[in-house]
């Protein structure tokens, strides 16, 4: 399947799941807000141009913001992780080109360890920024700290479940094509 079509399909699915499933589950606790939609940005292929990545982040955040009526909140956080993503990947994956034979970040391609570190750093950045923007408008500092860590925990759990339930087929990049 074409990368573009595949990713448009993915984005739609992630936003719909976030809006109509995760945002609608019965209220558990005020510190627990399950976020998963930003996994879309984590899953984008390695080959994506950095400008396109920023654009994709902006679009992802904005489309969620349209549903939750918080223009700019998720957009800002998504643009941040879209900007930081290439740096994290450079650190976690050795530079030699022949080692990057897989298509997009996934636990099978990168190995569980590096993949989870990659996901954890970006999740943490996303949530810290998001909760901080909310906290600027109201709440206390302690709320901010607790909420950041609890939402990161929940999101990591969700990411782990998604990765175990839907293992993506690996597409090896070869020079025969």
């Amino acid at each position: 399947m074409n990368d573009l079509i595949k990713n448009i399909f993915r984005l739609t699915l992630f936003i719909l799941v976030q809006v109509f499933v995760l945002n609608k589950i019965p209220h558990l606790h005020r510190y627990i807000v399950p976020y998963l939609y930003f996994l879309f940005i984590l899953w984008l292929p390695f080959t994506v141009n950095r400008m396109v990545l920023l654009g994709a982040g902006f679009l992802t955040g904005l489309s969620l913001d349209y549903f939750t009526l918080t223009p700019g909140l998720h957009t800002a956080a998504c643009v941040l992780i879209a900007y930081v993503r290439p740096f994290i990947i450079n650190i976690l994956i050795t530079k030699e080109a022949n080692e990057i034979t897989f298509h997009e970040p996934s636990p099978r391609g990168m190995g569980w360890g590096p993949y989870l570190v990659y996901a954890l750093i970006l999740t943490f950045l996303h949530h810290t920024y998001l909760v901080m923007l909310e906290w600027l408008q109201f709440g206390t500092f302690l709320d901010f700290i607790i909420k950041t860590f609890s939402t990161v925990g929940i999101s990591m759990l969700l990411i782990l479940i998604v990765e175990l339930l839907f293992p993506r087929r690996l597409k090896y990049r070869t020079n025969t094509a």
Binding site: V33, F58, G61, T70, A76, V79
Partner: protein, 292 residues
Amino acid sequence: MRNIFLFIRRYFVFLSFLALQGVALWMLFTYNRFHRAAFLGVASEVTGSINTQVDKVDDYFHLQDENRRVHLMNDSLLNLLRENYNVPDSGQEMRVDSVRVDSVLQYRRYMYRAAKVVYNSVNFENNYIQLNRGSNHGIRENMAVVSSGGAIIGVIINTSPNFSQVLSLLHTKSRVPAALKKTGTTGTVLWDTKDPRFLTLEGISRDVEVKRGDTVLTSRYSYNFPPNFMIGRIVDVRINKATNFYDLKLQAAANFAGVQQVFVVENLQRDEQIKLQLSTEQKMDQDKKKTP
């Protein structure tokens, strides 16, 4: 000059990152001005139509509760029918006169419109509800929204042609004028963002007697909300030592998570009331200037 171009080329990604961050933060912090103009006009129509489709499925999960609420509401209305009452004196006949004030015009204060919730959330600090009626159906800003069981849900803050957005009571900016049913003392109901089942009532002075289980209704002194609609019941009474006011915890009368059919209440005299208030304020200001 050449160096500037080199700089821009070298840091182009970083600069566009800053630009996009700027746009996002600008949208976030100028929300109030911005959302009226651009954000909701088009978006609400798009998200509204998706929400409507999803809501069709979601409906089936709440049918039983909704049915019970409607039945109770019907029950209370049936009890108000005139046929239920006997006229005590046989010589008298009760009539409802069409002339209600010293004028030939009949007047009506509140008008109810039925609407349906298409999107709803309770998990955030700022929750909004979307209804399937908009400015085409006569919905305007500042109309109150009441659940099918007669409990206050929120107030309309924005409309598009076919949809409207409700500022739920579960919102940090929500302030509802309320009164204790027993004594009529007025206060303000707000939400502390902790639990969607409970609200807070502030501004009741300590010398008023308050007990657990007391009913809290909407106040008569509100422009938006119709009087004597249920907001909740008091479940916890605490005294704030610093201010000598109560900190009262309410169990909300409405089940915000399961709200489905609602009424949008229009105060037909609101414009007149607001106009009068504004002109009064103006008058007082002028008087102040005249007599230093």
